[in-house]
Amino acid sequence: MSAPLSLEAAGLIRNDRALVRHVSLELGPGTLTCLVGPNGAGKTTLIKLAAGIIPPTSGAVRLGGEAVGALHARQRAQRVSWLPQDRMSAWAMRGVDIAALGQFGQGGAPYERLGDNARAAVDRALTRCGAASFAHRPMTELSGGERARIHLARVLAAEAPLLLLDEPLNALDPRHQLDVMAVLREEAEAGRAVLAALHDLATARRHADRVLVMDGGELVADGPPETALSPDILARVFAVVQDGAGGLEPV
């Protein structure tokens, strides 16, 4: 069976600038991978390439073995579920209707008009994100953290084999960050390939099976946390060293 995601020398050049250069990687089922890198390293662009939102200008992106450009938007959404960094919801729609968009492929209906199976998937996702209690309220009345959990529920509700999450811990307090990492771990254990771009290196080190490090559009390290986040990489890519207490200091 083909891997949920494979990139073959994928690159993206925009306005004469290489945002992603020659990235090759494969994400297998059942793993939780964290993507880290300094600001502007190309994490968001790499995730959008993988999600099929922007086509690569060189190389190939395959979802479940199929070139992403050959898939219709609806087929693509069955293979990958993406949490954008910019989590927009334009209107005062209810949380359940935003979460229901995770099942958009099933007719694009709001929550109440979803089929039984699709609605059950949305309910499960909301419960797992701890969002069931406030999901019937309008998004505009929710706190930033509550909205973030609705959007995460939307991503889980798709029940796709590949999850791509761009900074899923933004706007969350420490406890909810831990809860989200636990949910991502469950998703991996359920056989999905999970890729999360994170800023916090300690969280990546603690939770990931595998860490990808990007710098200047290139994949500069790929491996288990202890090797991908070695003191050498920390100094070279992030310009930090680990202090004795497990914190970080500038080089």
């Binding site: 959008k48 999600a51 939102i53 219709h72 938007a73 609806r74 087929q75 693509r76 959404a77 069955q78 579920s81 993406w82 954008p84 910019d86 989590r87 927009m88 919801s89 334009a90 209107w91 005062a92 729609m93 209810r94 209707d97 935003i98 968009l101 995770g102 958009f104 492929g105 007719g107 694009g108 209906a109 709001p110 109440e112 008009r113 309008p138 505009t140 939307r154 798709a158």
Partner: protein, 331 residues
């Protein structure tokens, strides 16, 4: 029951009532009681029949369909652009469309075929909607889009002012002013017939876009990410709203603001869902124009106030009120 169904049924009843009131009201040869009797009893007094069926009914239906089309176009554009202030009038689509109609009349192209006026209205509406989208769609701030629309609207206004400036005689001038002020007076079944195919095609386009509009609440990339065909939705809304606006301007000239006010009032009743908003917005906007047109008919002015003027007198303050409160809604 879904809010969409209950709201639509309620608004459909309101629309039917408003049309009945409009039929009975007015300074005709017979009072409301006699007209009601003629409607229900089938007493075929030829004069009453003429007043009701040949004069009032086409005018009332034109008002209703023009309102419904503008309400639908407004709701669809708002969903596409994620901006509660988007409306064919504000964005300059109505102005450009009226310019098309004015060119048809001014240069006597309308004499070539009855389809020239609606055709040019719709072509201009289409061109401006597409231009607007190309210029403003990449903007993070939706404010920019509205500003681009205001500019396009002013430009269309300037071109029409130029034609008025150069109008060879008072008759052409009065023709031009009719398009600018907007009215459904003296419309016949024939006028409705010429716009009808475009209204129907526009309605179909916009309704097909409903699920896509729902997805677009996540932004264009977000919508694409959940499997919505964003280019198709965009095309359906642009073509659909241009058909609806162009056909409405061809039938009634420029009538503004109804496309903003109606969706704004309906939104809370359909859980702010941009797809479910469409039909109720059309019903409410149609009802609003029927009532406004009835008001201008019965108001005791020496010269009848134009419907477009009445709509702007009520709609413009409502627009200001919505704009002042809209912060954080669209962005």
């Amino acid at each position: 029951m879904s809010g969409r169904i209950t709201t639509s049924i309620g608004l459909a009843i309101a629309a039917a009532l408003s049309i009945l009131i409009a039929l009975l009201a007015g300074n005709g040869p017979a009072g409301p009681g006699e007209l009601l009797a003629a409607l229900t009893g089938g007493q075929a007094d030829p004069l009453m029949h003429t007043v009701l069926v040949e004069i009032r009914l086409p005018r009332i239906l034109t008002a209703f369909v023009v309102g419904a089309a503008l309400g639908l176009a407004g709701a669809a554009l708002q969903g596409l652009l994620r901006n509660p202030l988007a409306d064919p009038g504000v964005l300059g689509v109505s102005g450009a469309s009226a310019l098309g109609a004015v060119i048809a009349v001014y240069f006597n192209l309308a004499a070539l075929s009855v389809w020239v006026t609606p055709g040019l209205s719709i072509a201009m509406a289409l061109a401006v909607t597409a231009l607007l989208y190309a210029l403003g769609a990449s903007a993070v701030s939706t404010t920019r889009l509205v500003l681009v629309g205001v500019g396009l609207s002013s430009f269309a206004g300037a071109l029409m002012a130029l034609l008025m400036n150069l109008a060879p005689n008072p008759f052409s001038l009065s023709d031009l002013i009719n398009w600018l002020l907007g009215s459904v007076a003296n419309r016949s079944w024939l006028d409705i017939g010429f716009s009808a195919p475009f209204w129907i095609a526009g309605l179909v386009c916009v309704l097909l876009a409903a699920p896509g509009l729902r997805a677009l609440t996540l932004g264009e990339e977000g919508a694409s990410g959940i499997g919505a065909d964003v280019p198709r939705t965009r095309l359906l809304v642009i073509v659909g709203s241009a058909l609806l606006t162009g056909a409405s301007v061809a039938a009634a000239g420029i009538i503004g603001f109804v496309g903003i006010v109606a969706p704004h009032l309906v939104r809370p009743f359909v859980r702010h869902d941009p797809g479910d908003l469409l039909i109720p917005s059309a019903l409410l906007a149609g009802t609003m124009l029927v009532l406004a047109d009835t008001a201008v008919r019965v108001l005791p002015f020496a010269i009848e106030m134009k419907l477009g003027v009445a709509a702007a007198l009520i709609g413009a303050p409502a627009f200001v009120w919505i704009a002042a409160r809209a912060r954080g809604m669209g962005e």
